[in-house]
Symmetry: D2
């Protein structure tokens, strides 16, 4: 932490700050510049210290220089985290594809979709049984019945299941069915839920909040990791900007940034990332080209009859076409889709 | 809902859409313009219909024209909602002031602050026992012990208490102590929590999410109202923008907008809205001038020793000075601070 | 400037950086923390140095600690800048009110409006002769004819004129008519234009760009000041955020921030700041309560016939009503409207 | 345009609006829904009409349904625009690569870079002679001397030149040297400059403003096209969001969106789009995978000595490595880099 002094501050203020630092267990290291004096704070600092110091007389601003997250950083763990789900190795050399309907509606819908996406090359089945919905009057999911339907689709196809858990009380229930627990964008800072999935024995996929900085996202990851669950992957799903043509602006740069700052696998969700089915394919390819470890794609047997997010869902045919392109782009950057023959 | 057809669409597509509308129980009303044909959809539409129609061949876009919220709208209830808390009438002619520390730290800190803010003219004591924190390594609150301390401060001063509830399981516990339940910005779309406080018998204050549109905020209000709890007030606390000088950008325009669109009382929180103590006073005055029904202000006996958010907390002295100004500005717009002699 | 070293960097990298600093004419001042080593760069740094240093091996990041603007800062000039325009003192104790139509349409419209706003207490007439327009097919202003109309309205009413100049070539022309040159939001980083108004002998009002940070705004001010023109005032007119209900989100906090960081007067434009006439009054009052040195308000004899921005224009009657409220709020914060009897 | 009436509006208001529409030369087409009545406005509407109608009594809101841009839309011109620059066909099947230093510094620097990027496969040389700079104290370019240096590099290498023009007066001068005129992000709404390059006989590349919506960008394109210059390409270079890790957030989705809405070629600039050299390669590949017609990349012989934007510049070696990857990714989506053997 660096304390930057005001230009007109004097020795008295300086001494007060050094005294306070000593009192809090730190050492202050003075550096006098041409215009300003700065104090380097030596010791294991914490975020609140910044607020405290910034209030002291003579202080212009306080600049943190250590990252507030640790377990999720590449400095802490240089080698990539890989997560084993069945035969899959998420975060390894292969790119995994999760596909399925936004919401679980009927057994027929889910099983049919599971078969179709498997045939096209998907590795994991997605589907929401508990659905966050902006409006209380919209479809909110089938709950445990939905989980049972997903389990049946897994039996039929062998595809592992990823599904969202929305509240701490449901973590145990959802863990009983799911292979991967998903924490949605709106819950990225639902800290009690993060604690709870941090105690679960299942891999977790943490979506980025729609106005979360990369740093806040990694701090939310830290909640889960610090509870002991190291089977964690992240998912970029679009952020909120001023642009209104798309539902969200997919931040493709988050993919290489996460790869640089963290050892955690990074998945891309171009369905939520754009909100429009015709943008899903180009953004999926972009994500793979930028280094994503996986894709999450919404697929529905009949998008114009979907109970949720039809506008961003692919038909079976469009998904199949996309998979062929994904295989090719992955090959062009030296990767392959899990389970596929190399490009 | 208005279906806008593509310029190059023909009669066949038009007929398909009209057929589909009939099947879903709506009537389509055609209007042929110079460039485009549009179809007015007559019937009680719902959000998912938009997605469905937008996917049909020949459709350029679908524009909703009814607001998705109802119970929270002024069209539904033209007269202002007022909420009785002890002798106070929140949402009435008087402006209420909630003040206190960000986090409950010790009994002494809270009781001392409660006395000071009461003496300065505050009407309600704020203080967090359960604290959302971006980092798992920061102070997360005293929990039930914190609630007990707040209750003791209420005994001492007679000030009603507002405090945050972070997760559905805690609603009952927190309701046992609090006079007003606060739902924080990060939980504005924690829908299970909204359901739960919607069933509680206590007034609720719902903060705006940091990237929530006004419409989404009113939809979250709708969750609470539709569960039967009509004692609801809203709180503007700053939104996330590109500006980095402030922690958030306080959207003062949200105050008159809420007043126009909704009957719910609107409170302003310039402490979180700015993140810097020296901006709290000017933004508090701005909020009152713009028509806020109340203020929420962080006050701490010694901000540079606060365990949380010291940088945005006022000292007792600064709070006292602010209250005098607030009284004057309220008078200038024809209102008074609850409990004060009129400006 | 502070150079933060990577955790795994060693003495070799450190020495390279110190050598480079010496070569560029700076001294490096080492400070070894628990986790990281940082180097304080002593000397008159410049922005490009940051890029250069950040690219050197072993460097994690480089943090600037001096503000990049000087002439516009309060550190450089502690006392407020005041600008004399006729009898007015902009930036002094009194609050000035600029009012008039968005665009100059006809002599009748402008003179009628000038009389009405003067009668209601406005001090300066605004009106656009050169109009920036998002679409090439919209009204772009009357050009010099518009300037002549403004001059005639000044003759009639004695009100000084503020009007926009859009391009360097027009600075001389517009200076021949205007009392204050306005640089619009879209031109805040039209650097050649800034140079040119910096050489003009007229006061300038620089609007904030719609996605400009406070720092960038002050750097644009620096362009004008560094050319020698010190008669400069700033104008907050709303920034672009994700909210779509308003045209812009008016950043009321910018008012006290500018007052803290700079000595330049700060004007508020709630007409562009909100884009809706019914929000103009509450935001104008908020701006005055927050400490604005002036207001800029769009007024039109018949807003629903305006050629530009009718939706955000006040009628004469609404403007008159607003002025009474502005006088009262100004008084409540210890100020008066220029030319008015004190509250 | 659709006029949506308030729920409580009556026949009187309806008739007034219909009368007004007739007076302005439009026909109103009534459609009575369950909750609201809407009026379809038939005729060639214009943006200001919206403001006018929205102010009439009984009107809730007015929704435009025609796009405000015409010449730039795919509806107006279904086939792709291609622009011939020497042997290149920008906007055709091949992907073009523009590369070079941010700013022209010396002849040696530019010629050396031009040779290196040509050898690596670039098709066009970029370099700024007139440089927009946030600070007046930063390097602002060599002006005409810089243009001469670029011309000499063209002689040496045969590479056509793209360079920025910042102000209307310079259009003729810059046209005398450049093969493509670049309008920078900060000038996207410098309308006088747009007019002027619209009259030039050179191809133009229009960068997206950092807070411009897609629609505003296409309207700025419309300025240029409507002046008669149809040799226009667009360039996505990152938008401003709340994220601070990157200088801008590159909106990769803008690439397929522009391709859908417009016939104009779309170029991607990952150097400005990210602001960090280590993100340039992944975002360049992402852009090509998403369908970009070209890339613009900053390359410098010695980025840590660059006078401008060194942090986002690639070394020759890194650029060469990137080109090999770009060739592979382009091939994977069925395209090739201009001048290269197909992947």
């Amino acid at each position: 932490m660096i304390v930057v002094m005001k230009i007109d501050s004097g020795e008295k203020e300086l001494n007060e700050i050094l005294k306070r630092l000593t009192k809090e267990g730190f050492t202050g290291h003075l550096s006098r510049g041409v215009e300003r004096t700065v104090i380097g704070v030596v010791g294991r600092t914490y975020p609140e210290l910044r607020d405290m110091l910034e209030l002291l007389p003579g202080v212009e601003e306080v600049i943190p220089i250590t990252k507030p997250y640790k377990l999720s950083s590449r400095e802490f763990q240089p080698q990539d985290t890989t997560i084993k789900v069945g035969d899959l190795n998420i975060g390894g050399e292969e790119v995994v594809v999760m596909a399925g309907p936004c919401a679980v509606e009927t057994e027929e819908q889910v099983v049919e979709t599971a078969r179709a996406v498997k045939a096209a090359g998907a590795n994991i089945l997605r589907g929401g049984a508990f659905k966050p919905s902006t409006s209380p009057y919209s479809f909110r999911g089938l709950g445990e019945d939905g989980l049972k339907i997903l389990a049946r689709a897994r039996e039929e196809t062998g595809l592992p299941i990823i599904t969202e858990v929305m509240t701490p009380q449901d973590v145990e229930l959802v863990s009983g069915y799911a292979d991967i627990l998903q924490v949605g964008a709106r819950n990225m800072q639902n800290f009690i839920l993060l604690d709870e999935v941090g105690k679960a024995r299942k891999p977790v996929m943490l979506k980025r909040g729609m106005s979360a900085t990369i740093e806040e996202w990694l701090l939310s990851a830290e909640y889960i990791l610090s509870q002991g669950n190291r089977q964690l992957m992240l998912c970029e799903r679009g952020i909120r900007t001023f642009e209104t043509y798309t539902r969200n602006t997919m931040d493709v740069s988050a993919i290489p940034i996460i790869e640089k700052l963290s050892h955690l696998p990074i998945i891309a969700d171009p369905s939520h990332g754009t909100g429009k089915w015709h943008l899903v394919a180009p953004l999926a390819l972009a994500a793979v080209a930028a280094g994503a470890d996986g894709l999450m794609i919404e697929v529905h047997p009949s998008p114009d009859h979907a109970l949720k997010d039809g506008a961003q869902s692919l038909t079976f045919e469009n998904f199949q076409r996309l998979m062929a392109q994904v295989v090719a782009v992955a090959a062009s950057v030296g990767r392959k889709i899990a389970g596929s023959a190399k490009g």
